[in-house]
């Protein structure tokens, strides 16, 4: 389960896109993606953002698996020659998939947009559009 801590420093309480309130905290820039952190000073509301549709959940899992696979592949390929084209391409694939995974996470967490939203409005009966229950 992915969770997000949305924090920023301000003396005012403002609603986040998901409707949760945030309290004053010293902000830490790209803090969004750190899941391991020290005990926060003060109140912090954890907003859980999980995929809404089964299809999106499947994409999340697929991307995560691909990362494992491709890191393994790249490590093996590069054992032979770290400067070879195959090695470069293998790590580039890792980067591509890692970024795709992160983009999906941003969409769901930060923007509360499920990429299947409009597709599933039109086609609610498909398997991909079943509401995912955690």
């Amino acid at each position: 389960m992915m969770s997000a801590t949305a924090s920023h420093g301000r003396a005012v309480m403002l609603p986040s896109p998901s409707g949760a309130l945030q309290h004053q905290q010293p902000s830490i820039g790209s803090d969004m993606f750190r899941l391991r952190r020290k005990e926060p000073r003060g109140l912090r509301l954890i907003v859980a953002a999980t995929a809404k549709y089964k299809g999106t959940k499947m994409r999340e899992e697929k991307l995560s698996e691909m990362i494992v696979e491709k890191v393994k592949e790249a490590t093996e390929v590069c054992e032979a020659d770290v400067r070879s084209e195959e090695c470069k391409v293998a790590w580039d694939e890792v980067e591509e998939v890692s970024q795709a995974r992160a983009d999906l996470r941003i969409k769901l967490k930060l923007l509360n947009q499920d990429p299947l939203e409009s597709f599933c409005q039109e086609n609610p009966e498909t398997d991909e559009c079943r509401i995912y229950e955690d």
Binding site: Q99, A100, D103
Partner: protein
Amino acid sequence: MAVSTIYSTQALNSTHFFTSSSSSKQVFFYRRQNNRRFNTIITCAAQQTVVIGLAADSGCGKSTFMRRLTSVFGGAAEPPKGGNPDSNTLISDMTTVICLDDYHSLDRTGRKEKGVTALDPRANDFDLMYEQVKALKSGIAVEKPIYNHVTGLLDAPELIQPPKILVIEGLHPMFDERVRDLLDFSIYLDISNEVKFAWKIQRDMAERGHSLESIKASIEARKPDFEAFIDPQKQYADAVIEVLPTQLIPDDNEGKVLRVRLIMKEGVKYFSPVYLFDEGSTISWIPCGRKLTCSYPGIKFNYAPDSYFDHEVSVVEMDGQFDRLDELIYVESHLSNLSTKFYGEVTQQMLKHADFPGSNNGTGLFQTIVGLKIRDLYEQLIANKATAPAEAAKA
């Protein structure tokens, strides 16, 4: 917004009547003046699209920069409704953001076979990129391919209507000279290696499969292609946002506190650089003091003229973090040439996206400012295009 050009043609035997052709773009006036008979045809193009290029290595269209930019124009940018759910395109009222990965000529398998990374120009179809950006700029819709980052395949194309503002975002917006010439404004997001490493750790460490070693190896392996093909584009950019580790904390390697430099080219049409205190001077400014209390490590600003790849530039630099709303407002009130429409607009825009990474430091600040500069450029360009044909008609 209509832009019109006026033509004179052969005379006809009629006076003062009006027809419009089936294409909604043309209006015909027939007029007789004195002894001369002539016709005036007014052709209106639907709009002139302003094209912005953004070079960034941080994925497509989902980056917070794009969100901030589209937000300046109002409205949220969303993927096209009812289309491919893996589309990279974002559309809002005024802007359409296109991901240049869609112009990959080789899909993932193809690149593996040829031994090229996505950074390599050989993996991209610049001819198609040029044709389509040119078409959109002239107000013609295009069927643009979709590169699916999940499957690594090229999907069926999607129809893109010409927007008022077209943003092309990706690895190579300024690589091809023809495409470069179509850009009305270009931005390069230059992340230093240390910051890139810190961000990628934050991005990837939670994923199974990744470790510090794999993250490092991935960055190292991509470096040669990045330096050969992507980095050189920064010399062409009208604005470069450089993100570096802070100088306020000795030996900081967490990449949380950042030093961000906004490098603005001088002499760019419709673009007047932001400055502190007085243009062309050199200033070092620490806003924290009696009027403003900041927490550690505080904030430091610099402004100076400089030279960047043989161009004259002005550089505004911010090191540190904003803690509170009043710090932001105080800083905003001392910056000049922000192209805001009202006092506090920068602060308001930053607050709108307070959840986005970079909201408390120079990345968010300068991205927002660049957004306002683009709005200013757009308005000037449109105003200019409206007056030019009217002047021609008087002649």
